[in-house]
Structures are given as C-alpha cells and as structure tokens.
C-alpha cells in the first residue's frame, strides 16, 4: 500500500471524486470539486492510498485559521472526507491514512498548530483512542424545524402497500391519528383498511400523540424501547390522548403503528 499526496489536477483526482460521489450521495462529487479543487477557495491537501495503481482510499485537509476565543486566531487544518473502498476495508487503511495524512499535511503546512475533524461518535472514539484527538464539548445547539412531511408521506404510500395483508386486523379499524411534534407541522392520518392516509380533519374517534421530538416516538417492542417510552411519558416528552375505542383499535394493530413510527423517523 502506497500513501501519497496528489493535486486536484492529477489524473488520480477523478478517481477520488468518483469514490466520494459513490459514498456520500448528496455531499458527493460537486462538493468534492467545490471543497478541494476550487483554486480560489481554501488551500487543500489530498492524500490517497493506492494499491496496484488503483486509488483505494483518500483523506483530505483544508488549511484554515481557527479563532480560539480569548486566545486569538491560530493556523489550523480541517480534516475530512476520509474514505476507504468497501472491498479493502478492515485492513487498518483508514488508520494508516490518518497517520500518514497528518504527517504529510504537517510537512506541507508546517505553520499549522491544530488539526480538527468533524465526525460521528463511533469513528471519533477511534480517533481519540488511537490518534490522540480530544473531543471538544459543543457549546451550541442545532435548531431545526420540519417544514413539510412530503417525503415521509411518499414513503407512507409505499408502506401502505400490502399493509392489510401483513396486518389483517386493520380491516376492523377506523380511527384517526393526530401527530403533534415540536418543530414540525401537525400530521393527521386516517387509520383503516387502506393503511395510514393523510386527511385534513375528521369526526371519527381520534388518538392524539404529542411528542417533543420524532425520536421520542415508540419504534419497537424491546425492553429498552419500552423503558425509554416510559421515561418519555414520565418526563412528559411523550403524551397520548384520545378515545378508548381508538386506543383499543390501535392496540390491535400495534405492529403497524410501530412500523409507521419507523417510517416517519427515517430521514
């Protein structure tokens, strides 16, 4: 395995862009070009891992100036988009890429004092343990608001297909589910033999679920899920209201309800 730096204009760069595009979807090729190949943008360092003349992994760094509060600005590097081809994983290539990448980037930008990464918790733990990184505590919140349920309702159409076959008890159900989540528009669904279908309003028996977040919705029957539901109920993050008959019907088709929650919570 060979690790080396390439330039955005090198022929290997197109392989890297294609690899990023395959792996990161929305944040794929156009993002790579903007971030690392824009000559007027930040200064980038691209490091690749290659085997038999094939690019099998990559990592990237951007030269930035971090502001450190009362300590003023420091020259730094922002690392990201580390990727190893699925076929060659579990050979510690990403660890080698991180180590070699850091060495290369420290030579290219000797003035840089810090290197930062933004990554998921599981991968971050690996960086902490093996590479000496420290997780900084975020002093901010990410505020969000759902503007529409459009894509979830599209998924719901798919979910409704053959739902009656999987949940025969739905044939005897006829009530309305009102879902009120903080930071999202209200969602009203009729529940019946045709599955869960959006409606504007209804006089039928209703179940109202009020939750702080979509994450508080019950998505399973495991002990841990039931405990988290109980905790959510106690802390009033989750509330149920409605008529007894509607609850009785909902209990009969609880499996369909749980899968509905999974469908709605999937991003």
């Amino acid at each position: 395995m060979n690790y080396r730096q390439i330039q955005p204009t090198d022929p290997e760069a197109s392989s890297v862009a294609a690899m990023i595009d395959r792996a990161f979807g929305y944040y794929g090729g156009p993002y790579w070009t903007w971030k690392y190949a824009d000559t007027e943008g930040a200064r980038s360092v691209i490091v690749i891992a290659e085997e038999d003349q094939q690019v099998v992994g990559c990592c990237h760094y951007l030269r930035v100036d971090y502001h450190l509060g009362d300590r003023g600005p420091v020259p730094a590097l922002f690392g990201g988009d580390l990727l190893v081809e699925p076929g060659v994983r579990r050979r510690h290539i990403s660890t080698e890429l991180s180590l070699t990448g850091r060495q290369i980037v420290a030579e290219v930008h000797p003035e840089a004092e810090l290197v930062a990464l933004y990554t998921w918790r599981e991968l971050g733990a690996h960086y902490e343990r093996l590479l000496g990184y420290a997780r900084v505590k975020p002093a901010f919140n990410q505020w969000s608001k759902r503007l529409t349920w459009k894509s979830q309702l599209e998924r719901l159409k798919e979910y409704n297909k053959d739902l009656l076959l999987r949940n025969p008890d739905l044939a005897h159900v006829d009530h309305v589910l009102q879902l009120k989540l903080d930071g999202a528009p209200e969602l009203i669904l009729e529940v019946g033999p045709r599955g869960f279908r959006p409606v504007c309003a209804s006089e039928r028996p209703m179940i109202s679920i009020v939750a702080r977040s979509v994450k508080d919705l019950p998505t399973g029957f495991s002990v841990s899920t039931l405990v988290s539901i109980l905790l959510a109920l106690i802390s009033r993050r989750l509330r149920f209201r409605g008529s007894f008959s509607a609850f009785r019907e909902a209990y009969a088709v609880r499996g369909a309800y749980v899968n509905l929650a999974k469908t709605l919570t999937r991003e």
Binding site: A42, E113, L117, Y133, K137, P138, F140, N141, W143
Partner: protein, 310 residues
Amino acid sequence: MICALHLSRSDLSIVTEVANYPLWSCSKRKLGLPSPLQGGVWPHKADGLAPFYGVAMTEFARDTELTVRTALPEDDGSLAELFNRAHSHLAGVIRRSKTDIAWRCRRQPGMSAEGAIVVQGDNNRVLAYAFVKDNGDIIEFAIDPDGPRKQAASILITACEQHAVLAGAERIRVNVPTVSVEVEKSMRDAGLIPSEPEARHYVSSTQPTRFVASMASQAVRIPTFDLRITDPYPWQHQEMKVGSEPTALLRIEADQRTVNRLILGRESPTRAALTRQLRVRPFRKTIEGIRIIRQVQLQSSWFYSLGDVL
C-alpha cells in the same frame, strides 16, 4: 408586494401591505413568474438599498427600522467583519474574509443567490445575515452583538424559513451558540427545536509542544517550564522549553491525548495529576504545574456553523 412585520415587545402582528407587486407564491413560482427574491428593479426600492427581499419590518418598540434584503457580493466584506465580531468570544470558529464568504457560502453547491439574506437597520448598518441553502441548511447565521439581537434574529430566521419553503426544502436547521439566549428565544418563538448535533468535533495539535508554547505565550506571568510528550510521532518534537527564562522551574510530562484534552479544556489538570496522566518533575512542584496548565488552558466554548463543516 411589501410585507411589513410590526413587532412590539408583547405582540407580533403581521401586516401585509399589498403594493404594486403581485402576491407571489410557490404556485406562481412554478408558473415561472419572477421572484421578489431575485432582485432586479424593485418598485419600492429605497435609496441606497439593494433590491428588497420583499419583506420590510419595523420594530416600533425601539424605533429602529429593520429591513430584510438579499445580500449582494459587495456586502461580503461587512458580512465577514460581522461574523468575526459576533463569534469573537468563541473557539473553533473559522475566521471569515471577503474571499472566504464568497467561496464558503456563495459558491457552495446547493446555494442560490436568493439564499443570502441580510437584515439591516438605520443607516444601512448590517445587523444580521444568513446564508440558506435550497435544502434548508442555514450554513451561516450571524447576529450583531451590539444590535437588537432578538428582533434581528426573529426577522432573519423568518426570512430563512420563507426562502427554504419557496426552494422546496423539507426542514431548516441552524447552529446557534448556547450563550446567545436572546437568539435562542427567537428560534423557539419561530417554532424551531434544539437538539445536540449528531456529529462531533475532534481536535488534536500537530506539534503539541509548539501549541502549548503558543498558548502559554498568550497567558500572563507563566514561569518557564519544560514540556515532554511521552508518545510523540516521529515527525513531532518530544520536548520543548516553554518560556523565556534560561532555566525551567519544572518539567511536565504527558501523552498527546492528555495534553490535547488539558489544553482544550476537556480534562481537569488536578484529576490528570491524580491519575498520573500528567506528571510533574520534581514531584513537590505538582501544584505549581497544575497552576501552569490552568493558565494555559483554553477557556472559550467551542462553536461551528454548518458552513464550517460541510
């Protein structure tokens, strides 16, 4: 169309004043009618202002007229200055320049010209600005710390949401420092909910000894000491004298991870000394060593906007 939001401390009532311009909506956008967000010649363009965004808002309680408009490339210098000033007390923020705004915000994939929004007050002073992508990610959101923060934030987030809806986004999200109580209140009022970011920020020093020396040089009255990293990589310095005195008072030893955690404020020096992750030689000067680390430690909170990590 001009929409005027008349804000008071206790009441927020929306008054829509339909002027010469036709009411513009998502359905009309689909029909190809021009968007007020697209700028161009605007019937109610005020002197010295760029084309209106379509929303003019007045906050009577303070007699300050806040105006929303599209941010133009010539604004980028003042936007960068505002961003750096608004986040000067925070750590982890990438400093902005005119060039950086142009690249990071304007040229980012998924960003349209109408997604650049400015709130300005009297004398065209920029009080707040945001860059909203068509998918609803607010990659940059800055409020002037010396201006009417809550009002500016309310107007700005409303304009951001309006743009996101028109662009067909399914949700909006924005990072706001927890110290900005007034801005957080505006977010809550606008119907947004807070959550911890899913991904996290990890930081390491490329040359720990040099980084500690750099941090120490900005602290006051720190005695000279030797710093020894116990697990350096081959390209890193293992030992360095920090300070200007000819002789060092003591020597501090630790591994890279401990040094990073100590300097970035994630680890208590006392606990590190008690658990022997941090060793001070001679041992009797341990308290002095702990005091030095405390002085070097970074105290500021960490923050990054979405534009910093994409």
